[in-house]
C-alpha cells in the first residue's frame, strides 16, 4: 500500500492569496490541480515537498473563452471538458483529440490542462517505489549520480510524456504565468529544457494561469498522433503533432513536434520544404526528416529503434490525414 507523506495543503480562494502562498513557501511548494501526476509521484517519493497549493478553488484558472483571434483555456480546465468543448473541437481539433487520448476516463475527469503541461518526466527507472529504486542506488533524478537507462549518461533524459504539449506547440500556444512579481507570457515551445530532473521552465513562485492559442488560418491544419501499448491508461511511447501551412495546393510552412523522446520536445520547422506539393512524397519526406533528426532513447519502455521507426509511420499517417490521402498506404489495405 502506498501512502502519502505528510504535507501542508493550502486551499486559497483567490489568485492573490495563491500567489502569496507560492512566494512564501517557494521552493518547497507545488501547485496541485487534478493531482493525477503529483499524487503518485509524492507516494513514490519521486517528488518531495512540504507545501501544496490547491488550484481547485481559483476561478481565474477555469474555463474556455473564445475571441475573434484566440482561444484562452484556463490552466485548471479539466482534460475531459477540454476534449469535449465545442470551440476547441472546431478550431483546435488536434488538441481536443490529444486530450481525449490521455490516460483513462477517470484521469481525464480529474486531470487539467495546466497539470498535463507540468507533467513530470518519466523513465523506466524513476517511476518505481523508493524501495525499488534503493536497490540500484538512485539515479540522476533520484538522489544518485548514475543513469540506469542510458549507461554513462551525464544528464537526466527522462521523457516528457504530456500528450497536449505537441499540439499546443504546433498551434503556437502561449502560456501565461503569474507570480508576486507580475505576469509572464512565454510560448509553450520555450517552457521546456533538456534536464529530466526538472524540465519545466515555470518557477516554483509562478502559477500557470492559462494558455492562449491563436485560431489557425484557413490553410493551416494540425494532426496529433499517439502510439501507446494499450488504447487506454498508458503514457505515450510515440507522441507527435504535425502542422502543415498550405495555400491549398502546396506547402508554405509548418512544423513537426515530437515528444516522448527526452525531457524536451523536438520541433522541426518545414519552411525549407515550401513549394512542395501535398502528396504521398511529402508524407515520406517528413517521415525521413524526423527519422534523421529525432532519436528516441532507451529511457521509456519499448526498443528505442523500434520507436524511431514507429515515429516515422505516425508522421506519415498524420500527413496523409491532413492532405486527404487514405490514412494507410493502399498496398496495405486488404
Amino acid at each position: 500500500m502506498l501512502r502519502l507523506p505528510p504535507f501542508v495543503l493550502h486551499q486559497p480562494a483567490t489568485l492573490a492569496e495563491a500567489i502569496a502562498l507560492l512566494a512564501q513557501h517557494a521552493p518547497d511548494v507545488r501547485v496541485i490541480s487534478g493531482g493525477t501526476d503529483l499524487v503518485p509521484n509524492l507516494k513514490l517519493g519521486q517528488t518531495k515537498v512540504g507545501h501544496l497549493v490547491s488550484a481547485r478553488f481559483l476561478e481565474e484558472l477555469h474555463g474556455i473563452t473564445r475571441t475573434a483571434t484566440h482561444l484562452r483555456i484556463g490552466a485548471a480546465t479539466g482534460l475531459h471538458a477540454l476534449a469535449q468543448d465545442e470551440d476547441v473541437r472546431e478550431v483546435l481539433p488536434a488538441l481536443a483529440y490529444a486530450a481525449s487520448r490521455i490516460a483513462s476516463p477517470q484521469i481525464r475527469n480529474m486531470g487539467t490542462l495546466g497539470g498535463n503541461i507540468s507533467l513530470d518526466t518519466r523513465c523506466r527507472y524513476i517511476n518505481q517505489t523508493e524501495l525499488w529504486r534503493e536497490a540500484l542506488g538512485g539515479c540522476l533524478k533520484s538522489h544518485g549520480t548514475e543513469c540506469h537507462v542510458v549507461p554513462g549518461g551525464q544528464g537526466c533524459v527522462a521523457a516528457l510524456s504530456a500528450d497536449t504539449v505537441p499540439p499546443l506547440i504546433a498551434y503556437g500556444a502561449i502560456a501565461e504565468m503569474v507570480s508576486d512579481t507580475g505576469v509572464r507570457r512565454a510560448p509553450v515551445a520555450d517552457l521546456f529544457q533538456q534536464d529530466g530532473t526538472w524540465h519545466v521552465r515555470i518557477a516554483r513562485e509562478e502559477l500557470l494561469v492559462a494558455v492562449e492559442i491563436p485560431i489557425p488560418a484557413p490553410g493551416t491544419r494540425v494532426a496529433y498522433r499517439k502510439w501507446s501499448v494499450r488504447q487506454s491508461i498508458d503514457f505515450p511511447l510515440v507522441s507527435l503533432a504535425v502542422r502543415l501551412d498550405t495555400d491549398g495546393a502546396a506547402l508554405v510552412g509548418g512544423s513537426i513536434v515530437v515528444s516522448a523522446l527526452g525531457p524536451r520536445p523536438r520541433v522541426l520547422t518545414l519552411e525549407r520544404l515550401a513549394g512542395r506539393p501535398l502528396d504521398e512524397a511529402l508524407a515520406q519526406a517528413l517521415g525521413q526528416m524526423a527519422y534523421d533528426r529525432a532519436r528516441p532513447l532507451p529511457n521509456i519502455p519499448y526498443d528505442a529503434e523500434y520507436r524511431r521507426e514507429r515515429m516515422v509511420i505516425e508522421i506519415r499517417r498524420a500527413v496523409r490525414v491532413l492532405i486527404g490521402l487514405p490514412e494507410k498506404p493502399l498496398m496495405l489495405q486488404t
Partner: protein, 183 residues
C-alpha cells in the same frame, strides 16, 4: 525543512455529501479519499488496488463523474458529492447493474467489480441524457477503459453493461412513446 521532519499537520474538517448524506469528518491533509472511505469511515466497498491511478478499482463518482479515490486528496472533496458502490442500490435493492453483473457472471474474483460498477453507472446515466442514444460496445469499452480486470477477459462485463443500457433506453422510449391504444 519539510513538514515530514516535523509533527504531522493537524486534521482538517471536511463537509461533503456522501451517498446522499451530509457528512462532516476530520481528516489529515495527506489522506486520500480512498483512505478516508476505507479506514476513516469503514466503507470498504471501494477497493484499494495499485494506489497510483493505473487500475481503477478505487473508482468513485465525484459530482457524478467517475474519478479515482486513490489520487484524490480527501480535503479536496470539500462541498462535493461523492458516491461509492455502497450508495449504488436503493432501499436495500441492488442497482440493475449489480443485478446484471451477478446474473451474467461478470465477476470472477470480484476485486475490480466496485470500480467497474461506478464507471458503468456513469456511462448508463450519461447515455440516458443523450439526444439520440445508441448502445455500442465500443463506447462501453471506452467508458470502462480505466478499469482493469485480470480475470474475466471483459466479455461478460461488457455484456452486463450492454444489457442494462439497452433496458434503460427501452424503458425511456416506452415512456416517451406510449403504445398506441388497442382498437
Amino acid at each position: 525543512m519539510t513538514v515530514a521532519d516535523s509533527t504531522p499537520p493537524a486534521p482538517v474538517l471536511v463537509n461533503l455529501q456522501l451517498n446522499g448524506e451530509p457528512t462532516s469528518v476530520a481528516v489529515p491533509p495527506h489522506w486520500t479519499l480512498l483512505e478516508l472511505l476505507r479506514y476513516g469511515l469503514g466503507l470498504t466497498g471501494t477497493k484499494q488496488g495499485c494506489d497510483k491511478g493505473d487500475c481503477g478499482t478505487c473508482t468513485v463518482r465525484i459530482d457524478g463523474e467517475p474519478q479515482l479515490a486513490c489520487l484524490t486528496l480527501a480535503v479536496e472533496v470539500r462541498d462535493r458529492h461523492v458516491e461509492t458502490v455502497e450508495g449504488l442500490g436503493v432501499g436495500g435493492e441492488p442497482h440493475p447493474l449489480q443485478e446484471a453483473f451477478a446474473r451474467v457472471g461478470a465477476a470472477q474474483c470480484g476485486f475490480c467489480t466496485p470500480g467497474m460498477l461506478m464507471s458503468a453507472s456513469a456511462y448508463v446515466d450519461a447515455l440516458s441524457l443523450q439526444d439520440d442514444p445508441v448502445v455500442r460496445r465500443e463506447d462501453i469499452a471506452a467508458a470502462l477503459g480505466g478499469n482493469l480486470c485480470r480475470c474475466t477477459g471483459y466479455t461478460k462485463i461488457l455484456q452486463a453493461v450492454e444489457e442494462v443500457a439497452q433496458l434503460v433506453l427501452d424503458r425511456q422510449r416506452d415512456l416517451a412513446e406510449p403504445a398506441a391504444e388497442q382498437p
